[in-house]
């Protein structure tokens, strides 16, 4: 590939990388890959890539500078490999991680349990039935961190992926969400035990909205955080599937 041709390809790929970042923001898909806390940094990255790409195209006539890479095969492979995330990111609609991301681990081993002490870690219990239900898994986790097991009795609404298991009862399933620090690569599963009050018809990886009362179930020495559900409905994947 000539110096000019190579520079055009390099500039074009940089612009496409920047466009991919823009597309992910505009389509709302960025949240499926990265924590929103990184959005400003990612946006600046897109801007810098765009400037680099534009300058590389503009410098097209300056053939001598930088030689546009090393060997031809290595150069071609680099361009092809850079194309992979661009093409995939542009064409694939990402979905949230599901049970396959557990890497074969049984979900019953990932269920959230109260701290061994059992009592609140601080704050006051608020199990009064008249209070507003806790709405959302993230809010529920923050609440449990505050009040611990004494939060039992509080109404709760939560959305997650249903995950039945042979190790759970026929009226039970795990409500699964993934928590990320920065990006999906560091996702950690969080499972909440749900016990249905009536007949249970959910399939694995189905998004469901659960409403019920917080409780406790003892299993193999652990005191599991439990939602005693009086309503379970299929729902759509939330815009931000990660916690």
């Amino acid at each position: 590939m000539s110096g000019l041709g190579s520079r055009l390809v390099r500039g074009g790929l940089l612009l496409w990388l920047a466009a991919l970042i823009g597309k992910l923001f505009v389509s709302g898909e960025m949240i499926k890959y990265m924590s929103p806390a990184l959005d400003p940094l990612t946006a600046v990255t897109g801007g810098v890539l765009a400037v680099m790409g534009a300058l590389e195209l503009w410098r097209g006539s300056d053939h001598a500078h930088h030689g546009a890479g090393s060997g031809g095969i290595e150069q071609g492979l680099t361009y092809l490999l850079v194309l992979v995330p661009i093409v995939l990111g542009a064409t694939v609609t990402p979905r949230a991680l599901g049970s396959s991301a557990l890497g074969g681990e049984d979900v019953s081993r990932l269920l959230l349990a109260y701290a061994p002490s059992g009592g609140p870690s601080g704050g006051s219990p608020s199990a009064a039935s008249g209070e507003e239900p806790i709405d959302g898994v993230a809010e529920l986790l923050a609440y449990l961190e505050r009040v611990g097991e004494s939060g039992a009795g509080r109404r709760v609404r939560a959305v997650g992926m249903a995950l039945p298991s042979d190790r759970l009862g026929v009226d039970e399933f795990a409500l699964l969400r993934f928590s990320i620090a920065h990006c999906v690569a560091d996702a950690r599963p969080v499972g909440l035990l749900v016990i249905a009050s009536g007949d249970l018809v959910v399939r694995a990886d189905q998004w469901v909205a659960v409403e019920g009362v917080l409780g406790v179930r003892e299993r193999e020495g652990d005191r599991l955080v439990t939602i005693l559900a009086d309503r379970i409905e299929p729902t759509v994947e939330p815009p931000n599937p990660c916690l």
Partner: protein, 304 residues
Amino acid sequence: MPALFLPSRLNELFVIFLSIVLQSLPFVLIGVFASAAVQQYVSERTVARWLPRRPLPVVLLGSVFGFVAPVCDCGVIPFARRLSAKGVPAYAATTFILAAPVVNPVVLISTAFAFQGDWTIVGLRMAMTLSVAIVVGLLASVLFPAVTGLTPAALPISGSSLEEMRPRQDLQALVGHATAEFYDVIFFIVLGALFTAATQTFVPRGDLAAIGSRPVGSVLALMPVATLLSICSEADAFVARAFATTFTLGAILAFMTIGQIIDLRSGFLLVRTLRMRLTMLVVGVSSVLVFVEGVLVNLVRPWL
């Protein structure tokens, strides 16, 4: 363009792969621009003039020189060769090659960022890298004192020839340097992201966890992975972070240390630059030291 939905396993592979690429990009950019700025604005003559001549001070200085010349592992060899060509001893340049990719502000901050502000990990990473660089540098000064310079480059290395590194005083040239270096490293970033995503997707977590929790086995397992992945020092902490839930701290530190010293990407260049005997010293001493230090961290960690 019609939307494409992948089966769950492939979706997982793709989402993890792209998330690693996206997360790495800002730090790769910071690294390549910092490196480009050094190439453009710091002359090798000035740098060489400030270096002492006795082995110990020059090795110590070479080990922390990355703070003022924050080049990543991709740019460090051409830069070190330039320093060597200006009279910096080979053992000092070797120390710089081993230390600078990690012991520099960009990489230390990105490591802190990846590990959510855990400065213990940042400090341990720096200490492990410094120990290897200093020991290898001092051994080289004793064993190969006659080696005065690194092998000069006859051909451009990874897109950065000696001619290209001459300072040019404009923003356009700076971006040009950064772009050239970006294309030198991006291949390995994308490849590393693919490898990591495939590992996370297809290797049963139970198996990884079983290896990863052993104080010796976990270190032995992750060291070759780091060499195979050959991830740039600005981004490797993010990949290491993904292993942090299944592997021991010693293994994670060994991964981040050995990966910047012995990797497939710059291995050939390292042999060509340092000559075979010095390269063997680097590989042998680094492997043993990193392994021992990784295991040591795992053994003393319960008492920390």
